[in-house]
């Protein structure tokens, strides 16, 4: 039962990772009792499970995922939402309005219009049907302020970090509120735009360097340095 790569090594599609009594995890597949990589990424072993953390991938909806999307079309009884996936998501009017929906009375574009950003949860999705969204839970709904960053969807867990260490570092250092859409879209709301820029910078750095080690420490260090610079600039402009 050999494995052919060490943990955290880079693999490309078609690379033979392990043979024998292993379980094929994400971004791998089995053929003839051998496990191969199906995407470019980093190898990881957990117990007997072999996974590849993809460096290049797109978002595939899953039920219960929180996503951030853009309204692309206002229909007769709902909206179509672009959630950065191969499939268009649907948001039904009856889900947004707390009362029964009457097509002749309600003007849907008054509630949400094309171009509006929403935080939503996926409530239904399978191979045969497009994903369906809901906004009927606390924390979900239309976005009114903040900034959006887009990163590779598979790197969201890296932004969260081990037990949330990375995200809490960024939140602490910048004082921003951050909502992570699992589709790779991130909403940052801070008191000032400088703070938001800082959080954005950190997140983009994570996206670029996600496959390196010791990243949390480097991000914390970078944030501290940048904050110092910002304060110096402020003091200079005052004097």
């Amino acid at each position: 039962m050999p494995t052919f790569f060490e943990r955290r090594q880079l693999v490309t599609p078609g690379d033979l990772i392990a043979e024998g009594a292993y379980i094929a995890g994400e971004n791998t597949y089995v053929e003839d009792n051998k496990i191969y990589a199906s995407r470019i990424g980093i190898v990881d072993y957990e117990n007997k499970k072999v996974t590849v953390v993809a460096l290049r991938a797109f978002y595939i909806p899953r039920v219960e995922d929180i996503v951030i999307g853009t309204v692309t079309e206002v229909g007769f009884n709902g909206w179509t939402v672009d959630i950065n996936a191969p499939y268009q998501a649907l948001l039904r009017a009856s889900d947004v309005l707390s009362r029964p929906f009457k097509p002749q009375k309600d003007d849907l574009s008054q509630v949400l219009n094309v171009g509006d950003l929403i935080v939503a949860k996926i409530i239904a999705y399978d191979r045969a049907h497009d994903p369906q969204l809901t906004v009927g839970e606390p924390g979900l709904g239309k976005i009114t302020r903040g900034q959006i960053v887009k990163i590779t969807p598979t790197k969201i867990p890296r932004v969260i970090g081990r037990k949330g260490s990375m995200i809490s570092t960024i939140k602490q250092e910048t004082g921003c509120q951050i909502i992570l859409g699992l589709n790779g879209t991130i909403l940052i709301t801070g008191k000032t735009s400088e703070e938001e820029e800082l959080a954005m910078m950190a997140i983009l750095k994570i996206d670029k360097e996600s496959h390196t080690s010791g990243l949390t420490d480097r991000i914390a260090q970078m944030l501290k340095e940048e904050k110092k610079k910002m304060e110096e600039n402020k003091n200079e402009s005052k004097t």
Binding site: L10, P13, Y29, S38, R39, I40, R56, P86, H211, S213
Partner: protein, 245 residues
């Protein structure tokens, strides 16, 4: 068109561009060169210059082409008007339509098409400069662009040609050898499975010559595969080295 040189291979067995019969042209591959496409790759193989771009998986338009059980792969091979000596009309020619199909069929076995039904992937191959065996270089670049787009693949696809020139079996034909030679044999391969996904032949070969040429082409494919892998990893390796310092 230039006149036929008297000999394509000299007495010492050296070809017109100074290569040995079993030698590849110099190859340069770059991945992720376009920011607007989901995945892209650029290859220079000898004088060939080819750009490949991938979009998707995305909603397929027109919608009636979508299949309910798998993705649809669409390919477009196109030669720029300035890619050859005589200006080529930019409209798709019979040859380009055929090559589009051939490239699509050589890539299809490598992609897990059943993963994301009702969607489509578009592959665009643009030949900027042509110098023989462009279909092979196109396949090599297109499969890298697919991997760069994050599309789940069974293996990378790599292609290389072999043929017969002046009675000798040679690897990686260039334009003059292709036109003046006796036979041309493009081969596409999934190297980890030794699975051939494209095999064409034009010209005449004996059975023995064919086997030799096929083996030579497969050897060539494996050499290119190593470069392909390196090119795909290059971007991430450099970032990692920077971070480790």
């Amino acid at each position: 068109m230039s006149q036929k040189p008297e000999k394509l291979i000299d007495k010492k067995g050296i070809r017109l561009d100074g290569r040995k019969p079993d030698e590849l042209r110099s190859i340069k591959i770059e991945v992720g060169v376009l920011s607007n496409a989901d995945g892209s790759a650029y290859i220079e193989q000898g004088k060939n210059k080819i750009l490949a771009a991938v979009y998707g998986p995305r909603e397929l338009h027109p919608k009636h082409l979508a299949l309910s059980d798998r993705m649809v792969l669409r390919c477009r091979y196109h030669m720029a008007p300035f890619s050859v000596q005589e200006r080529k009309s930019p409209a798709p020619s019979r040859r380009e339509i055929e090559l589009s199909k051939v490239i699509r069929e050589s890539l299809e076995p490598a992609i897990f098409l059943e993963y994301y039904p009702r969607t489509g992937i578009d592959v665009f191959v643009e030949v900027l400069q042509a110098d023989g065996s462009t279909r092979c270089a196109s396949i090599t670049a297109a499969s890298l662009a697919l991997a760069d787009a994050g599309i789940p693949m069974k293996d990378l696809v790599v292609a290389c040609s072999a043929g017969k020139v002046d009675g000798t079996i040679v690897l990686d034909l260039m334009d003059t050898e292709d036109k003046m030679g006796e036979a041309d044999l493009p081969v596409a391969l999934m190297p980890n499975f030794n699975a051939v996904t494209l095999l064409q032949m034009d010209g005449k070969l004996t059975l023995e010559e064919f086997e030799n040429a096929l083996n030579l082409a497969i050897e060539g494919c494996k050499k290119i595969y190593a470069m392909q892998k390196e090119a795909l990893k290059a971007k991430y390796v450099s970032v990692k080295e920077e971070a480790d310092e």
